[in-house]
Symmetry: C2
Subunit: 152 residues, 2 copies
């Protein structure tokens, strides 16, 4: 007979999952209205801007941002249509694609950084005490470790 969560644990679960979802949504709306980018756009642009020569193999990009390849492919299609990135053939592996940050993409990302950091400060950091912030980091680490056990 499997153990089931008790009433109090259930309340924490509901509160936690609903609040984090709301936080994600709110941050997305904020980013959208401040900068015209979605959460996904920002994630991709951030990873690209940190890569050498602003250029990454598609599958490696998927690993960097932690997305499935199909999701990334769809998203890159939308971003390419808006001129934020380009896709080029990979010279060393004809199957592969390289994703390149465009000038427009770099400029957009640069302009978006400050407003986004400000939003993180306002919606997340300012809501928590230093102790709570540290605890949030530990909780995230524990959850992540539990979801993706390193032994596998």
């Amino acid at each position: 007979m499997p153990k089931l969560p008790n009433r109090e644990q259930l309340l924490v679960w509901r509160d936690f999952i609903e609040t984090t979802e709301a936080l994600h949504t709110r941050m997305g709306a904020r980013l959208q209205s401040d900068t015209g980018l979605s959460n996904g756009d920002y994630t991709v642009l951030l990873a690209l801007s940190e890569a050498p020569h602003n250029r990454v193999r598609s599958s490696e990009l998927a690993t960097l941002v932690g997305w499935e390849r199909s999701r990334l492919s769809h998203h890159l299609g939308r971003m390419e249509k808006r001129g934020l990135i380009r896709r080029e053939h990979c010279t060393t592996d004809s199957r592969g694609a390289e994703v390149v940050l465009s000038d427009t993409g770099a400029a957009t990302f640069h302009a978006a950084t400050r407003p986004h950091l400000r939003a993180i400060r306002e919606l997340f950091v300012d809501a928590l005490t230093p102790t709570q912030l540290a605890a949030a980091g530990e909780i995230a680490a524990a959850l992540r470790h539990h979801l993706n056990p390193p032994d596998a």
Copy 2:
């Protein structure tokens, strides 16, 4: 000059938001394969099953689950097509609609409860120490309070 988060705070932010998103996704996949319901389906069915006579005004349901009315309307349309709920005209307000849990919906929800609770236990509760679980509750409360200030 607005305060911006420092490096450490940013790391906590990224870890926190990505992990909670992954948790949400994982729970959705688990619920889907265990019971054929999505996260949204379960939320709606739970609210309906707790309502008197398994019947709620649409806008009240939106408040209960914390969704925008448009989102709820779309979701109810999909659930109605699958026979999980019905929509009936409201007798006291001709504009309104009442959402009713169908027998199919009730049975499906009932069958889904245990697997879902088990998943909550396994993916969330079991990942955290009692101290961390309590901290998660406090963090959620602080974030929620900050997002929706009661004075407004």
